[in-house]
Amino acid sequence: MSAANIETVYEALALKLDTIPTKQHPLYLAKLALLLAHEIDDAPKVITQLNAAAQNLST
């Protein structure tokens, strides 16, 4: 995905999150993760990404 496209997605997600009550963010993001996983249709690939997303979370 090109830098421009990822930016489009990044912005759309930020805007969408701001239309959803903060309390609902985890539920929304979990739904999104399942939808994208279904779309990608490659379990090992998704597992790799979900592990990657867990990096550097502790501050």
Binding site: P26, L27, A30, K31, A33, L34, L35, H38
Partner: protein, 536 residues
């Protein structure tokens, strides 16, 4: 529990019998090849299985009647095959409600309808609903007709001691105590098993904290026999509800308690009535209803490390406790009883070496661990144990409203019989087979034959299933029956068989071995292995 004013076994629709303790003390036999502790569904099934093998048994139970309440209500297809083989099936067929379909709802909207595999090739439906007291009554009727079984009510086993080649039980009944000696003992004494405690054994495993109130109501509710699961319903936000139809217009309503809900308060009659009324409103029922019985049940996965302790075998709830969602508690126990019954039969008659009995624990404990894996999966969906499971469960349900793929995550994948793939009795495969063919160790699938079903044609002991009359003749010297079918029969298709294939079927209808091209010596070797070694 029952509503105020009704005695413990005062049911709206079932008359609990009263059984006296044995009267004629002087003529009571004080020994038997097999003693069975507990006349619950599992103990009685074991006694009937042994009788079918020609083995006499004495069954002891503390109580003076059947277990109280509907308890385990879902009987799986494989259990119906067991009930059929032990000659008890007729009243079950008449009374039980067969079903194939389940529906799951999320906040009032249906997100999934699932159908368990079924076809005319199957003699029995995938699942039947029947109250446990009927299960016990029907088994007891079969026990009554069986001269090889002596069932003693109001008789408690209070002690157990190993003696030489047997076990001596201390039996305590209203007239006092007496010793009873058996070669082998089956501990079918339930989840709180006193025998387990006397022997110093402990159930081990994970404890899921989900608690369910299970309540039966009688009402003329017009809905087919379909299992309904309500997730996060209005009447119980965050909770899960299961609804099952039973005979006699009885409806089982299981509802989950929140972690902060007090159990004593939840079990008060007024609280139960209010909770039930809210569920009925949720499903749109506004007719009259009567409260019949209620109890509380929690979702555990616990088992003994070894189902055998010397000459004592643990069967049913004494050996394992499983969550209710997968409806495996009773069904898993019936398979235990069936498994140990044929093995003890073969050993006690002298047809198999005593080493055959070593296979009981690995086979049945393996089955329990498999049940645990599946049931834990269901439990995590029905009763998410942590924040992570909770979020993903909620996401799946919410997504399922518009995306059916996510609804499949709510499929309970109920009870398929276990394959004894790692059993010491099962011969591993040779030859090439289609992927759908049943594996060695699997339960024999059913098929339609010219007359009746394949399952009707199996003999009482081992059966060699072939498609070649010459091969059938070649095993005439072995104590096994033969069933020869045409190579183009639907059974061959189900089994992935060709004209030269053969299957060795055990007395419990599991496949001991299969060959795409069998020879008589291979069959003999597999038979020897499947009875635990060379014949005595």
């Amino acid at each position: 529990m029952r509503p105020a004013g009704r005695a413990e076994t005062e049911s709206l629709y079932f008359s609990y019998p009263h059984f006296d303790a044995p009267q004629d003390r002087a003529s009571l036999p004080v020994s038997a090849p097999v003693a069975i502790v507990g006349a619950g569904p599992i103990g009685m099934t074991a006694a009937l299985g042994l009788a079918r093998e020609g083995i006499r048994s004495v069954v002891f139970d503390t109580k003076a009647t059947f277990n109280d309440g509907s308890r385990a209500i879902c009987i799986a297809r494989q259990s119906f095959h067991i009930l059929n083989q032990i000659g008890a099936i007729a009243p079950f067929m008449e009374k039980a409600l067969g079903w194939t379909t389940g529906r799951s709802f999320y906040r009032g909207r249906q997100i999934l309808e699932f159908h368990m595999p079924d076809s005319p090739a199957e003699k029995f439906r995938p699942m039947y609903n029947l109250q446990q007291q009927y299960i016990e009554q029907f088994l007891w009727q079969a026990v009554q007709n069986e001269p090889l079984i002596d069932l003693r009510w109001q008789s408690t086993i209070t002690d157990v001691a190993d003696v030489g080649n047997g076990v001596t039980l201390t039996v305590t009944d209203p007239s006092g105590s007496y010793p009873f000696t058996a070669d082998w003992v089956l501990a079918a004494d339930g989840a709180r098993s006193p025998l387990r405690k006397i022997r110093g054994l402990r159930l081990k495993g994970e404890n899921y904290e989900g608690r369910y109130v299970i309540a039966d109501v009688q009402m003329p509710h017009d809905y087919p026999t379909i299992r309904r699961a309500l997730f996060d319903p209005d009447c119980r936000r965050g909770g899960t509800i299961l609804i099952h139809k039973q005979p006699e217009n009885i409806w089982r309503i299981d509802y989950q308690l929140r972690d902060d809900e007090d159990e004593t308060e939840a079990l008060r009659e007024e609280t139960v009535r209010a909770s039930v009324a809210a569920v009925l409103a949720e499903i749109g029922y506004d007719g009259p209803w009567d409260l019949e019985w209620w109890s509380v049940y929690s979702a555990n996965t616990l088992a003994l490390d070894d189902y055998r302790d010397g000459r004592i075998f643990f069967i049913g709830d004494s050996a394992h406790i499983v969550p209710i969602f997968g409806v495996r508690g009773l069904n898993n126990g019936l398979a235990d009883a069936h498994n140990i019954a044929w093995k003890l039969g073969w050993v006690l008659r002298g047809d198999a070496p005593v080493t055959l009995l070593d296979s009981y624990s690995p086979e049945r404990r393996g089955a329990t661990l498999d049940v645990f894996a599946n049931a834990s999966k269901s439990a995590r969906f029905m009763t998410p144990p942590t924040a992570g499971w909770q979020l993903m469960r909620d996401a799946a349900l919410n997504l399922a409203l518009d995306h059916p793929f996510a609804g499949q995550l709510a499929n309970p994948r109920q009870m398929t019989p276990y394959t004894y793939a790692d059993s010491p009795l099962v011969t591993n495969d040779e030859g090439s087979w289609s992927k759908t063919a049943p594996l060695p160790g699997a339960a024999l699938p059913d098929a339609i034959l010219e007359t009746g079903h394949l399952s009707d044609h199996l003999g009482q002991g081992f059966t060699l299933l072939t498609f070649d009359p010459e091969l059938a003749k070649s095993v005439g010297h072995l104590p096994i029956g033969t069933l020869t079918l045409p190579a183009d029969s639907p059974a061959a298709q189900v089994l992935g068989a060709t004209a030269r294939s053969a299957f060795l079927i055990r007395p419990d209808s599991h496949i001991a071995a299969r060959w795409s091209q069998a020879t008589p010596s291979q069959i003999e070797a597999a038979f020897t292995k499947s009875i635990g070694g060379p014949r005595p």
